[in-house]
């Protein structure tokens, strides 16, 4: 039997607290194009990082042409003919295209570069990928599409047998995407195998011949693409239909508290418009990279907006607000708790009251009334069942769930009418999850509005009243509370027909 080019056998990998990959196996032959599909956290990146030598597997084998190989580092992967084009480009911005191409592979003799040969090599590989830019240009002066092409050219210099593309089209124009697909076809005709990671199903149907679908770290299905329909793939991605635990009547006639129109930012978000009504939990769903986090950050001014308006209901009227000021009425619970939410080295008490200090100013300005601050903090500790031994202990000593509760109470104090919560229950224990969900329900019961982002679609579906789905920086669908999981995932894998 002819040995396949690449054979992943029973690859397993776990991280503290989570089994990222369980017994994943598949084969790939020369010249085959395989699409690796899966929802967030399904394990696609983990699997490819193992193949690319970025992380180590716990068990299983990687066979290349029948031989068992060890991938201890990216260098090993390269030597074994595996090339990985990451989603985040590794470019050296101020250096020339030539330097970027050859930085790890300059033709040299005892440390001195053979300039003529270098120029020739660079130009020929650029030609190969269809790029005709001047190699002396600084790479930061070219667009992201061309930069990616150069990165691809760089990996081709090592004559790989397998090229892995991780979400390659996220910043490409249509023309550049077509160019990429032509390039992939070229690779195929040169007997190079391609693994294409994506969640955009229409791309899968344009370019791939085989598919492998991961869900929760397991390979749930694989085979020739022609045996699959779009619906079948989605079903494999999502698994069994889950119960919607919480059915709520759609709240009509409630005032709109937040209105966003035409928001564009950073080349990612394109013309986003949404409305958030009092008393509702609006679920914002989408896959990694769809722009959900970027959207909420742009609304509160953490990222600059290129276009669009934000209106907030102030004193019975919707008024235009500058995003930098929006945090007066909007509480943001950030996804990256450690880097954007917590003041890690500071006590719990400080973390709790930091957004609301003006309320605790004592008799002599600017000094704070410590007693009042303590009292208030203790109230919140009780209300949210935060587990700690002292208000003065450093917040980093609290568990994830309790940290999250502290951040939530930071905003509760200010009593904003709008909450934007980005992954509020990620990485915390089950008990705390339930408590926070109930908290959110309480909030909207008392007249606030919550925009909720979560990658755990089941959690999202258990409390939301309405859904907005994003894909590639655009809103691709709005659904009522009784929408099916399939519909939601379908909308997340589908660009609007523009």
């Amino acid at each position: 039997m002819k040995k396949s080019l690449l054979h992943l056998k029973s690859i397993s990998k776990s991280f503290p607290g989570v089994q990222a990959l369980k017994d994943v196996s598949f084969e790939l032959d020369r010249g085959e194009i395989l699409a690796l599909i899966g929802a967030n956290g399904a394990g696609k990146s983990t699997l490819m990082n193992i193949l690319g030598g970025v992380i180590q597997k716990d068990s299983g084998e990687i066979l290349i042409n029948g031989e068992n190989v060890q991938m201890r580092n990216p260098g090993d992967a390269r030597r074994n003919g595996i090339a990985f084009v990451h989603q985040e480009l590794t470019i050296l911005p101020k250096l020339s295209i030539l330097d970027n191409l050859l930085i790890s592979s300059f033709p040299e003799k005892s440390g001195f570069i053979k300039q003529k040969e270098a120029i020739q090599t660079a130009q020929s590989v650029l030609e190969r990928v269809g790029c005709n830019l001047d190699i002396n240009m600084k790479i930061m002066d070219v667009g992201p599409g061309d930069q990616q092409l150069i990165e691809i050219a760089r990996v081709l210099l090592f004559d790989p047998q397998v090229v892995i593309f991780d979400e390659p089209t996220s910043s490409l124009s249509k023309r550049e995407k077509d160019r990429l697909f032509v390039l992939i076809q070229q690779l195929k005709s040169n007997d190079v195998a391609v693994i294409y990671i994506t969640h955009l199903l229409e791309e899968v149907f344009s370019i791939a011949e085989k598919v492998a679908i991961l869900r929760n770290g397991e390979l749930v299905s694989e085979g020739l693409l022609k045996l699959y329909t779009r619906g079948k793939i989605i079903k494999h991605m999502t698994g069994a239909e889950s119960q919607t635990l919480h059915k709520k009547k759609q709240k009509q006639d409630q005032p709109c508290l937040l209105e966003v129109s035409g928001l564009s930012s950073h080349g990612l978000l394109k013309d986003i418009s949404l409305k958030l009504y009092q008393g509702e939990i609006l679920g914002l769903w989408g896959l990694l990279g769809s722009g959900r986090t970027e959207l909420v950050r742009a609304i509160v001014g953490l990222d600059p907006m290129d276009a669009g308006t934000i209106k907030i209901r102030i004193k019975e009227d919707l008024r235009v607000v500058k995003s930098q000021n929006a945090n007066r009425w909007i509480g943001l619970i950030s996804e990256d708790r450690r880097n954007e939410g917590l003041f890690v080295s500071m006590p719990v008490k400080v973390n709790m009251t930091i957004a609301n200090l003006k309320a605790f100013i004592g008799k002599i300005w600017p000094f704070l009334n410590f007693k009042a601050e303590d009292k208030s903090s203790r109230e919140y500790v009780q209300k949210l069942h935060i587990v700690l031994s002292s208000l003065e202990q450093k917040i980093e000593t609290l568990s994830g769930g309790n940290q999250q509760k502290v951040i939530i109470s930071r905003w509760l104090q200010r009593n904003p009418i709008i909450y934007l919560m980005d992954e509020p229950i990620k990485g915390i224990d089950v008990g705390a999850k339930v408590e926070i969900k109930n908290l959110i329900l309480d909030l909207v019961e008392n007249g606030a509005a919550v925009l909720l982002i979560s990658s755990e679609i089941d959690e999202l579906m258990s409390i939301c009243d309405r859904y907005l789905v994003m894909c590639r920086g655009q809103i691709t669908g709005e659904y009522p509370s009784n929408a099916s999981k399939e519909k939601l995932i379908g909308a997340a894998t589908n660009l609007l027909k523009t």
Partner: protein, 323 residues
Amino acid sequence: MEITQIKTIMQSLKSNWIRIVPTAIMLLVIILIGLRVPVFLTQRNLINILQQSASIGIMAIGMSFVFFVGGMDLSVASNMGLSGVVGALVMKNGGNPVIAGILMLLVSTFIGSINGLAVAKLNMIPFVVTLSMMYVADGLSVWLTEATSVTGISESFISILTMKIWIIPVPVIIMLFFGFITTMVMKRSFLGRWMYAVGTNIKAARVSCIPIEKVKFSAYLLSGLFAGLAAIITTARLGSASAAIGQSILVLDVASSAVVGGVSFYGGAGSPFGAVIGALLITLISNSMNMLEVSYYVTLIIKGFVIIIFIGLESWIRARNQS
């Protein structure tokens, strides 16, 4: 005290040991020196030390604000020099000493405000901004004085600022007073919390509705202000002003004072009073080296390495905590 309070103090000691140990070592060394050279611990010498530390201590208070928000101010010494020169020139030409003093503060605060604008509003890197300001201020001093000392400081100016209340010189009282007040404000007011927050985690601070630009600007403004205050007492003490009083070595002394006094170079921790204590310790080193007849040069070496060690320790701990 409740058990929880004791626990918290123990915890605080445990995580701060890295700051306490080197300082304790220094104190130990100083005591040992005192035993060896008895004149070291006399009242006269100690008062002397206090006096010498006043200028650095006051600048260190200003510098600590900039450290709190995660920046740095390399221009404090040149700022002090320039402000002193300006005020001295006014007095030399017959101006009122009170006006001169106010002018010193105005000039120094103005310089601080330029730094503040560049860092807070234009988002430039503190190192670049304050380094270039240092060169400009230095150059201005040299130009204005034509590289000579400015004398002719009015008598009243000198006498008020060099007199002693009981046995403690006025500048020292000023230093201790401001050190105390500013520490109270930092620890007990919302302004202080805001500063610590900006230095600890600027993104979280932005999300928490803290006016980051205003906070950073104020820090540099204060640094400038205190440089001016230092100019006043230094000019009075020396009875003259010159471009030389603001040499670059002084900046290192000021930074060392802050760092040794527990103010984190990376931001978010420490207190202005700690910086004052640090200034005392640094001056103690200089003085004790003197007493021991250690050459000025060795003192330079020691000072150079002290700051490297302190910040190195902190870097190391941070790196360890992050992994």
